[in-house]
Structure formats: C-alpha cells, structure tokens
Amino acid sequence: MTADVVVFPGSNCDFDAAAALSTALPGATVRRQWHADLDLSGTDLCVLPGGFAYGDYLRAGALAARSPAIAAVKALIARGGLVLGICNGFQVLVEAGILPGAFQTNSVQHFLCRDVQVRVCSTASPLLAGVREGDVLRLPIAHQEGNYRLTPPEYEHLLGEGRIALRYCGEDGQSEENPNGSYGAVAGVLGARGRVLGMMPHPERAAWPKIGRADGLRILGGAAASLAQGGVR
C-alpha cells in the first residue's frame, strides 16, 4: 500500500507522520509530498500532518485549505481513498469544508502540550479498524486552536451518523475532561462516508513502544489492516 503525507509550507509534523506510518505500516510505501506537486493517483492513505501551515495566519488551516492540493485530496476521497487529518491537518480539512464545524482558540486561551485520554466512540471507518468502541487511548495534544465548535443540531446529526469518533476523557476513561473546550469534548470526527478522519491528538507522537508511548499505532496501524483486506481503489 501507499501512504502519502502532504507537506504544506509550515507543516512541521510531516517527517514525524511519515516515520510513524513506516513503523505502523511495515512494507508500505510512505512518501512526503510537497503540496504544490501533490500527486495522489497511487495513494491509499493521505495524511495531512500537524504544524502551522502558512503560519496559521488569519485562521488555523485557512490558507492551506485554499491550496490547489485540496482538490487532489477531494478527488482521492471521491474515489474512496482514506484521509487522516492530524491537528493542523484536521483544521485544514475543516477550513476546506471537508469536515464540518470550525475551530477557535483553546478555552484556556493558550497553547497546550500534554498527554490526554480519548475514548473511542465510533468505529464506522476503516481508519478505526485497530480500535474498538469504548477503548481509551493515551495520546499527546499540542495545539493553540483546538477548541472544536459544532452547533447543537450539527452535533446531534454527527452523533446520529456515528461520526463522533473520539472524545476527550479522564484517566479512568469515564470521567469528563475537556482540555480545550471543544463542543461535546469532541477530539475527532469522521467524514460522511467514514473515509476521512480528523483528530486533534497526535497519534504519530505515540508510535514509540520502546519508551512506552504506543497507543497512536492503533490508529495508524488500523488503516493498514483494512487496506490489506480490500484496498480502496
């Protein structure tokens, strides 16, 4: 299989995402592709990585969402490819209208970097083939504008369609915790057909079993399992 990481000017988790994908998807071809030359014709999985694309100037993700690369991403989705937006990549997908909602500055009004727990609330996606509903993952967050906004009707709609994928939670997996003020403590959502996942936590930073940070592999590796079973083309 082939996984491509899109590099926007200002992306800074592109190397990390590519490295983690190589760990999670042994045997896969993993490439970093500069946004201006993006070719997704042979791609199974496209990752929009974290960082500050175009400096996050104006609004996080806004300028990258207007890059011609987005047309290629949309075409990939149309033909059934998988797209994973991590942190800034999630913000780009939202700004591009590929995922619903909008982002504001964290409710605490500053950047947050720490480990959080997220509970898996839906697995209606090949991208979530490695986890089960109710699983609790420990993953790092690192963002300033992670306060994900949905209107109550939007939220209900997504919930009804099983598209609320991940929610922040306390260490026991049950208690409420909401580091950035996101509506409904939502940490990750799915696109309409489950082919797109946007998430604020960084699975690629938890793909390091040697030092006890491994939960991210369950997200990154899950896509592999389902791709191996059927591919996406």
Binding site: N12, D16, A20, F52, F111, C113, A142, W208
Partner: protein, 720 residues
C-alpha cells in the same frame, strides 16, 4: 566616497578606537563607515570587555569538533553523529517588548545552530524576572513565555527545558536566555570563513526592513528609565518563514557545494558579511542594490545594519547559485546574490556602480578590546548561626510553594515538547533527553544557575551552576561532555560588575577544569542594569550530556512500587546559600564551595548505573534540598516514597549540597557495589510505595506524611 566632518564619538566609539580605525584604513572614514564600525565594535558584537577573560575557559576536549568562536559549539556523540549547542541572551529586546523579544531570541539562536550545518532539534529557555509581586513581572513573564511558544511551536522545534528564577534584582532587567541544540552528521559540519575567489554570496530569507536598526548597539546600552523610547527598533519574528528557512538551508547544504554559511544576527548583513570575510581573510564585494527590501527608501547604512529576522548568508560556488535559488524558490524563500569573493584584501561596498566604501578586510578582523578595572574581591561576611531544629513538614510545604521552587508545568506546558520525535524524556525534572534520530545516540540537556548563590558569591555561585547542570544531565545517566554559557552582568565599566565578570569566568573555568567539561562557547550580555541597580551576576550554564542509547536513559522506564530509595553522594554540611536559609532569614554566608571529588565520583557512578540498567529514576538534590527533591519525585512519578532519614537537622533536610542525588533502584545491592568501587557514599533510605504520598521517619521527630494531592497543591505555583 564622501568624507564628512562627522564626529564618530557620537556613535559611541572611543577616541582610541577612532585612531585605530583611521590607522588601519590609512585615511579618515566616511559617515557610513563609522556607522558600520560603531556597531561592529560595540560590546555586543566585539566582546570588548570580556574577550580576554573568556580565554580562561578551558575549551579543549576529545569530543570538541568546533569550539568557541563559531555559530555554536559542536561535540562528537559517536556513530558519526554530533550535537551543536549554543545559548544566547535577548534581554534588552525582551524588556521592551517581551513577546517579540523572546520570539526573536529563539529565532536568532536557532539560526546559529543551523549555520553549523545542524538541524535544530530543541530549545531551552533560561528566564529571570523580578519577584512575582512586582508590578510588571506578570506582564513580562506572560509575554516572554508566549513569545517562546509562538516562535518555537510554529517553527517546529520542541522546547524541552530551561529554568526560571525570580529575584528582586531582575525587576527592571528581566533576562531571557535561549538555547538551541541541533544534530548533524560529522561530514556536514560547516564554518563561516569565506574563501575562494569568484564564490558568490547568497542572501536567503526575509526582505530587509527597518527592524532593529542599531539593535547591536542597543543591546549594549544600559536600559533608560523610559525604555519605551527604544521602541521603533523592535524586531518582529516570522516563525513561519523561519521554518521554511530551516528546510531551504538544509536542503541547499545537503545537495550543493556550500563553502561557508553564517546567520544574520547582530549588525545584520554587515555583521555577517564582514565576519565571514574577516574569518577567511579575503577581499570581497557587497552589492547593496541587490538586497531585497521591504520598504523602498532604506539608506545604505540601514540596509547594512538592519536586524530584520529570518536571514542567512551562504557562500556558494558560482555554478551552484542557480540551483540554490531554485530550491529556495520552490520552498517559498527569497534568495538574492549579493556579493562575491575577490582577489586582494579590500572589502568594497557598492550601490549599483557607486563605491560606497573600500576598506581593508584587516580592519574588520581586529575589534579593539577594552580594559576593565575590577574592584578587589569582597570580604565574605561571617556565617550566621544556623538553626538547629525545624518543623520539617511545614518548612517543606513553604519551600514547595515558593516561587523559585514551585512547579514549572504552567510554563513548559505551553511549549510543544515533542515535535520532531526526538524527545525521549520531556521537561519535568532535571534534564530532558533527546535522540539524534531513531536508533542513534543522543544527549541529555539542562540549563542552570541560581541567582541567590551567585549574588552571595559570584565565583562559587558560577562554579555551583556548572555542578548543578552536570548533576542534572547525570541524573539521566548522561556523561557531561560540554557546556555553553551566557554571562549576564551589569556594566563592566563599574568596578563591582567588572569584579563579578572576572569571578564568574573564574568560577566556571574552575568547575569546568575540575569536572573535565570543555566550554564550547557562549555569549556575554553586559549593561544589565537600570537606575544604577545591577542584576545579580547570572552565569547561565547550558549542559550537554552524552547518551549512547537515549531510549535507555535513567527514568525512561520509570520506578515501580517496592523499589529501593537510595542517597548517592554527600549530604549538605551547611545551609549557606540555600532557599531554606533565605526563608529563615539567615542569609548572607556564601554557599559552600563545590566538592569536586565527590561530584566526579557521583557523575561517574550515574553513568555506570545507566550502563548497567541499575536505576529506574534519579533526581539530584538542588534548590530546596533533600526533602524538596523527595517531594518532587512523588509529584513527578505519582507514586509514594516511604523514607527513614539519618538526621533531622535543617542542614540535612534543606541544605543544598553539590554532590548528592536521590536514586531509585530495583536492587540496592547492585547500586551499592558500584558505588563502593567508585568510593561514593551510598545510603538506602526507604522504598517506593503504592500509596501516593511522601512518608518520612526521622530520629527525634514524630513521623509524618504528605499526600500527593497535598504536595501537588502546595507546589502548584500559579505562575501563569
């Protein structure tokens, strides 16, 4: 070439400096030339008052690949890898505009490391402010932390450590020292000496505007009462472009023959260009007309001296220029050809066809030095009588809650600590751990300095800062292999500050020699005073410890209940210079001098124990003393400690010794055997428990315990 009747002394040059310049030039200089020289020969660029003294710092060592004088020191860490590191101050700009001042400090030090051919891998920030109750402290602290977060997070380099102290002397002179660590392969090491007639200078990065005109001179000037006056000079950083610059520069260095490279820092284009030529001893032309400008009407002196951020100067073989420009263009970075190395020994500055200046390169190689007149060493005040007993529990809580000892989580929690996937151990305690690449060697890194100790004795305080930094990296099992330092002091023209300058250099030199740690470079920031009040002498140490296998550093696996708690090294013999003494009001005795022999043994032991995999955690005893160190282990690991201490005296509990460490081991016997072989004192004091609390037994004192929640609450801090 217009020769004016201009008075160069108005620019801050001394009469003898003017004479020297005229002698070297063989004529009177033009106004433009005086302007350049006044900046180049300022304290900030030329280290006039400190250059001779810095020669006292030992800089040789087997692992030193590049010592002082370059963009950053470079050390061999094995398997073909090297680490580049440098610390630098951005004090004055941060006092005027804390957010941008700190942000551009981070950007500036990053480009220093980049200029060695290294990929920037981590930042550390060493911060000093007035007491939290002082009116501007909150504003300054928030601004500075926001600035570091703004630049560091966006540029994609994690901030993995630092230190933060409050002391009244910094009230009007906050200090912001930024350190950058980068990794490179040995073969990729670059320097900045221009050579090769016909080679071309390529100016990479931001357009030149009026930012920070005179910034270098500004940094050397005592802050005026109304610092707001200095405002138009403030530089603004663009971390987005900074990130593009990293990638463009590394790709160009990777694929093309880059002969030399230097970042643009103090004194801007003039500073970088002239230094490159002077280092190589070559003549060259500089084509001002080709410098991309942000504003149309910049005067030549402004183009030369502007400190616009995010710029690098590369020297390339002429054939490579187009390819380099193509790489830059693809990544969205401007790159302009702005000069050429030439036959002869003249530096010629051209605007179009007009020669603005022609001067021998020698003039720029020889910045004059200035004499200092240090006051005689002060007499140490007599040591006051120490208290003989104390309430350990309540003193511990008071110390944990004090601004200099409380948790720094609210600071580093705003920094991206992980980006790049090199951070093996994040900030929290002692040193952070980085790997150069997956499977490659790495380093432990820390910054340290204690203003209280340094104000009581600059010399001992400086030596103790080296010791503490060494202990911090050793707590990860790393061998200290090199240090970088930033000397922050008052005006060297005053005898007292001159004395302090000499003393801190001597203190660092002594400790570095005793511990055999080469000093690979650093930075000097003088004139940190306002209204005649100078800061506490602040020699900040940035330490690099070597770890052949960073993923097996001490602390990565972490302790478990049932493991043994040990004390390695020598307990404190007095309270002198401790936080407890300050709290109890029994200051002024200078701290005890370092116990080098004991410390050498401790450092060696920790490295050996890491090699053996014998420790699950280590934490050195430093600010606050033994009880504070134990409490920090509880809050950090969220496990319990049950200990039986040998003594209940204040000095044992709260003294700050130079060679003591708490260690947690699955097997105390293994540790004891190694300690014995190295002559290090070892004492088993208790065990790790499931109950998350610090439980303490002492002779003559009733048993007490403090829960994790209680300790965490006490040390919460609320700094931000």
């Amino acid at each position: 070439m217009a020769i004016s009747a201009f008075d160069p002394q108005a620019l801050g040059l001394t009469p003898s400096e003017c004479d020297l310049a005229r002698a070297l030039a063989g004529r009177e200089l033009s106004e433009l030339e005086w302007a350049i020289l006044s900046v180049l020969w300022s304290e900030h660029c030329a280290y006039k008052h400190s250059r001779a003294l810095l020669g006292r710092l030992p800089s040789e060592g087997e692992r030193v690949l590049a010592g002082p004088g370059g963009g950053a020191g470079v050390l061999d860490i094995g398997e073909g890898w090297a680490v580049a590191a440098k610390i630098e101050s951005h004090n004055h700009p941060s006092a005027v505009e804390p957010l941008q001042g700190a942000a551009t400090g981070i950007g500036g030090i990053m480009r220093d490391v980049l200029s060695m051919g290294a990929r920037p891998a981590a930042f550390l920030d060493s911060l000093r402010f007035g007491m939290p109750s002082a009116p501007r402290t909150d504003y300054l602290l928030r601004g500075v932390v926001a600035g570091i977060a703004h630049y560091g997070n966006c540029v994609g380099v994690p901030t993995v450590g630092g230190d933060l102290y409050f002391h009244p002397s910094y009230e009007r002179n906050p200090l912001v020292n930024a350190m950058c660590v980068g990794f490179l392969r040995h073969g990729d090491l670059r320097d900045s000496a221009a050579r090769g007639v016909g080679n071309r200078f390529l100016l990479l990065g931001a357009r030149t505007g009026r930012d920070g005109i005179g910034g270098a001179a500004f940094a050397s000037v005592t802050l005026r009462e109304d610092a707001a006056e200095d405002r138009p000079r403030v530089q603004v950083g663009d971390p987005f472009l900074g990130k593009l610059m990293i990638e463009a520069t590394l790709e160009i260095m990777d694929s093309l023959p880059v002969v030399a490279i230097q970042d643009l820092g103090a004194a801007g284009l003039a500073g970088a260009f002239l230094e490159m030529c002077a280092k190589g001893g070559v003549g060259a032309e500089l084509w001002l007309g080709r410098v991309p400008l942000r504003e149309r009407d910049l005067a030549p002196a402004e183009v030369l001296l502007s400190e616009s951020q995010e710029r690098m100067l590369l020297l390339l073989e002429p054939d490579a220029v187009q390819a380099a420009q193509a790489i830059a263009r693809r990544l969205g970075v401007e790159a302009a050809e702005v000069g050429e190395v030439q036959d002869g020994e003249d530096i010629v500055v051209l605007q179009g066809d007009e020669v603005l200046s022609r001067l021998p390169v020698e003039l720029f190689a020889k910045a004059p030095t200035a004499e200092i007149a240090p006051a005689p060493p002060p007499l140490a005040p007599p040591a006051p009588a120490e208290p003989r007993s104390c309430d350990g529990r309540s003193s511990l809580l008071a110390l944990l809650a004090s601004p200099n000892l409380c948790s720094r989580q609210s600071v580093y929690g705003r920094y991206d600590q992980d980006v790049g996937l090199r951070t093996v151990v994040r900030p929290g305690m002692d040193a952070a751990v980085l790997r150069a690449a997956p499977g490659a060697p790495g380093v432990a890194v820390a910054t340290d300095q204690n203003p209280l100790k340094c104000s009581l004795s600059p010399r001992i305080g400086a030596a103790l800062a080296v010791c503490e930094a060494a202990r911090n990296v050793a707590a990860r099992g790393a061998e200290p292999i090199g240090l970088t330092n930033c000397l922050n002091l008052g005006s060297p023209e005053r005898p007292l500050a001159a004395r302090q300058l000499v003393d801190v250099v001597d203190g660092i030199a002594e400790a570095a020699r005793e511990l055999r740690i080469p000093v690979t470079g650093g930075n000097v920031s003088l004139y940190n005073e306002s209204g005649g009040q100078s800061i506490a002498p602040t020699p900040v140490i940035g330490m690099i410890g070597h770890l052949p296998d960073p993923e097996r550093a001490i602390g990565v696996a972490g302790p478990r209940a049932g493991m043994r708690v040990l004390l390695l090294g020598r307990p404190a013999e007095s309270l002198a210079g401790s936080s407890y003494a300050e709290l109890a009001g029994v200051l002024p005795a200078p701290p005890d001098p370092p116990e080098y022999e004991a410390l050498r043994g401790l450092l060696t032991l920790l490295v050996r124990l890491r090699e053996e995999g014998a420790l699950a955690l280590a934490h050195d005893v430093a600010g606050g003393g033994l009880l504070v160190a134990l409490a920090e282990i509880v809050t950090h690991t969220r496990l319990g400690l049950a200990v039986h201490l040998e003594e209940a005296t204040p000095r044992y509990l709260f003294g700050e010794p130079s060679a003591l460490c708490v260690a947690i081991a699955p097997d105390a016997q293994v540790v004891a055997a190694h300690a014995k072989a190295l002559g290090v004192r070892v004492k088993e004091i208790g065990e790790v428990t499931e109950v998350a609390e610090l439980s303490v037994d002492m002779p003559t004192e009733p048993h007490w315990a403090l829960s994790l929640a209680r300790l965490a609450e006490a040390s919460r801090g609320d700094l931000l």
